[in-house]
């Protein structure tokens, strides 16, 4: 089930290759034995809760050399089940696994302390495949839970008038699993985050469709402290962050990740590192992603809990109707003495359009309107005085802003005093809008070393009172072929730098 070909294969003779191929085929057939869930007595009537039957089927298959548990078309209701080693749940087109709407049909796993419909803990060679659907029916389940909390029979402090994320079931929660394959499935409407893969090795996600905006905190996908991840050809529409990488464990790291050909829509962020970022993120190649109708940033990299972010390549991004395009941030929130860092970030081939209005208007669970008098915020790269962002390359980028910044509505000038009036906000939850008004309409960079702008075009549809780019306390900045297109701005100084050294404009 490993998906890395070894070099040895190429050196083998044809005969050996043939034998190997036959052997592989044989092995594949043995491991891919199919079992029909209906043979275990599960009912696809959309009413019967099949939890125990599905669990028994999984256990049986896992104990008998593995195989696929096949769900034929129909609606299978279930509460919490645990996938075991060598078992793949295969959902045929037309098969739907429906989450029970009764919160008491779910387990809060004692190890991970979350609720989920489909768990896997410490298993290997597992998967969920096929063109079928997993539908958590989370809106009903979450509201049922609210009801039980009000009755006093379930303990929860109802912060923000909703149960904690851990007291609502996700669709999928896999922890410490090796060789995980998730392909082709549709995931709908969890009551909490949608799918978490935490400390997994060799995770392969291909061709999934996610519609996840039935309740608060509905993320698209959460990949936490995983090593060896391929995520491609997938579509996400989520109330919270969509392509979300996290690091919960200060001694772990999320690394060696490829993301390709993904489309996302969110009432929070598109591609996000964090917010929980204790260990960090390393060696990512992200290519060809489209983010649209998204409330916050298309790209957010947050190192705010002591973790590192390094060697990240983002290539080919379309960001249409998103509140912000790029937000790189070092903070010092839950660092506990660890030093957060961010370096070697390349973002290239980006076309982006930022709207004047709310980009996620009309979607379920819209992002919150903030008490935030500010004109349209620029893309921003913001470190802290002691923790500087290093080596950021921005190449072939075009961002179309609405402009129209009105100094009577919100104002931030570019004098030293005015720049110093922007608070550091070391321990604040990172959002592109956290500083309210920023002094630029295109890019704002602070506390960074080595920032390269190459072939960057910044367009403002209407005249803005601010310059396009402000850099403050930045060592080594290169502007090569940077073009500004703003009406009524002839002779306007579009690049303002303050307390910065080695500024080169070519």
């Amino acid at each position: 089930m490993a998906f890395y070909k070894t070099e040895k294969t190429r050196k083998m003779s044809n005969t050996k290759l043939l034998i190997a191929a036959i052997l592989m085929l044989f092995v594949f057939q043995v491991s891919a034995k199919d079992y029909n869930i209906s043979d275990f007595g599960a009912k696809a009537d959309g009413i019967t809760v099949n939890t125990r039957t599905i669990q028994r089927a999984i256990d049986y298959i896992s104990e008998h050399e593995g195989g696929r548990l096949v769900f034929a078309p129909g609606n299978y209701v279930t509460g919490s089940i645990y996938v075991k080693s060598d078992v793949t749940l295969h959902l045929e087109y037309g098969a739907t696994i429906l989450g029970s709407t009764n919160p008491f049909d779910y387990v809060k796993d004692p190890k991970v302390k979350w609720m989920s419909m489909i768990f896997a803990i410490n298993q290997e060679n597992i998967g969920i495949t096929g063109k079928g659907t997993i539908n958590g029916r989370g809106f009903i389940t979450a509201n049922n839970m609210v009801n039980y909390i009000h009755r006093g029979i379930y303990k929860d402090d109802l912060k923000y008038d909703r149960p904690r994320e851990t007291n609502r079931p996700e669709n999928i929660y896999f922890r410490e699993c090796t060789n995980v394959i998730i392909t082709d499935i549709t995931l709908r409407d969890p009551a909490s985050w949608n799918q978490t893969y935490d400390q997994c090795k060799n995770l392969y996600v291909d061709g999934i469709y996610v519609d996840s905006k039935s309740y608060w905190n509905n993320d698209g996908i959460d990949i936490v402290d995983c090593d060896g991840v391929v995520l491609k050809n997938s579509y996400f529409d989520a109330a919270d962050d969509v392509l979300c990488f996290k690091s919960h464990d200060a001694n772990s790291i999320c690394q060696n990740v490829v993301v390709e050909n993904c489309v996302g829509r969110s009432s929070a962020n598109g591609l996000k590192f964090g917010t929980v970022s204790r260990g960090g993120f390393r060696n990512f190649k992200i290519k060809n992603i489209t983010i649209f109708d998204t409330f916050r940033s298309a790209i957010t990299f947050a190192a705010v809990d002591g973790g590192l972010i390094e060697n990240i390549e983002v290539d080919s991004v379309r960001s249409i109707n998103t509140g912000n395009v790029i937000f790189l941030r070092i903070g010092d929130r839950w660092s506990k003495g660890k030093k957060p860092s961010m370096k070697n970030i390349t973002i290239s081939n980006v076309y982006a359009e930022v709207p004047i209005g709310k980009p996620d208007i009309g979607y379920n669970y819209e992002g919150p309107i903030e008490d935030n008098p500010r004109n349209i915020s620029p893309a921003s790269i913001v470190g802290l005085p002691g923790y500087r962002i290093e080596n950021v390359k921005l190449k072939n980028i075009e961002i179309v802003y609405p402009g129209a910044g009105n100094p009577l509505y919100a104002y931030r000038g570019t004098s030293t005093e005015e720049l110093d009036s922007i608070p550091e906000m070391r321990d604040r939850y990172p959002e592109f809008s956290q500083w309210k008004e920023l002094p630029a309409w295109g890019f704002y960079v602070r506390h960074a070393d080595g920032v390269e702008f190459e072939n960057v075009k910044l367009v403002a549809d209407k005249k803005d009172y601010r310059p396009s780019i402000v850099i403050d306390d930045v060592k080594g900045t290169t502007f090569k072929d940077v073009i500004f297109d703003e009406p009524e701005s002839e002779g306007k100084e579009q690049i303002i730098h303050s307390r910065s050294s080695d500024v080169t404009i070519k």
């Binding site: 008491f104 779910y106 009755r151």
Partner: protein, 250 residues
């Protein structure tokens, strides 16, 4: 004691009694009476909750309550009002085992537990047996029929157990199995379990203090069966379907 002290003491006693005898309607926990919804998760949550909060009665009013196996916990009584039917789920996989015995209602070393009221525990034995046979034939159930068949009630090592008034029907296996229990009081129950063969009415093993009174047994197997040594056993005013008086066998 002075009168004053006695008053305080009795007040305290009443208060404590009240706390421990709290009644909970099943619907509070989302239990559905439609005969279709599988209520196992809610019933188990309710029992755990009541047990952890000072004990009390979980009350089922008229309706059909579909469920798989659940455990009774200390200080919890299931109250089945007239017309309330606890219906055993048809699938064998929804039954749990305690000490190799499958049963619908289980209790493991629990004190002060009971099942009371004029309602019914319906074993749905035929449907369960069908599921067992099917799964054995397909090879997915790797035990024999006898091992797989669930009883209605299996209590092990429990103390202060009360059964009062309830009707028990159509067990897949034996109706009631009690092992190692003490102070077990069964009164005015009706057992009707003769649809499937070899269904014993009551199996008693190594219990200390057992009284059965004013009850009716119709079973395909032995009405009363004793498997081990039990002490202080009394059976009074209890008959089988032929009108024969049942006695304490050993």
């Amino acid at each position: 004691m002075t009168k004053y002290k006695l008053f305080i003491f009795s007040l305290f006693f009443i208060l404590t009694l009240n706390l421990s005898a709290k009644d909970y309607k099943a619907s509070l926990f989302g239990v559905k009476s439609d005969g279709v919804t599988l209520n196992t998760g809610s019933i188990q949550y309710a029992i755990d909750y009541i047990s952890e909060n000072g004990g009390g009665r979980l009350i089922f009013y008229v309706g059909r309550y579909l469920t798989g196996s659940f455990y009774l916990k200390p200080n919890v009584t299931i109250q089945l009002e007239e017309g309330a039917v606890l219906v055993g789920f048809h699938s064998v996989y929804d039954y749990f085992k305690l000490n190799d015995t499958n049963a619908l209602i289980l209790a493991d070393k629990a004190e002060n537990i009971g099942i009371t009221g004029k309602g019914v525990i319906e074993g749905n034995g035929k449907a369960v047996l069908k599921s067992i046979k099917e799964q054995i034939q397909k090879g997915y159930l790797e035990e024999n029929e006898t091992q797989a068949k669930p009883a209605l009630i299996y209590f092990d090592g429990c103390k202060n157990v009360t059964l009062n008034g309830v009707i028990m029907r159509n067990a897949c296996s034996d109706v009631q199995v009690y092992t190692g229990c003490s102070n077990l009081k069964i009164n005015k129950i009706t057992v009707k379990s003769s649809v499937l063969p070899e269904s014993k009415g009551l199996v008693l093993s190594d219990c200390d203090g057992f009284s059965l009174s004013d009850s009716f047994f119709e079973a395909s197997g032995e009405e009363l069966s004793s498997a081990g040594n039990s002490k202080n056993v009394s059976v009074t005013n209890t008959i089988n379907s032929k009108g024969n008086k049942l006695n304490a066998t050993k």
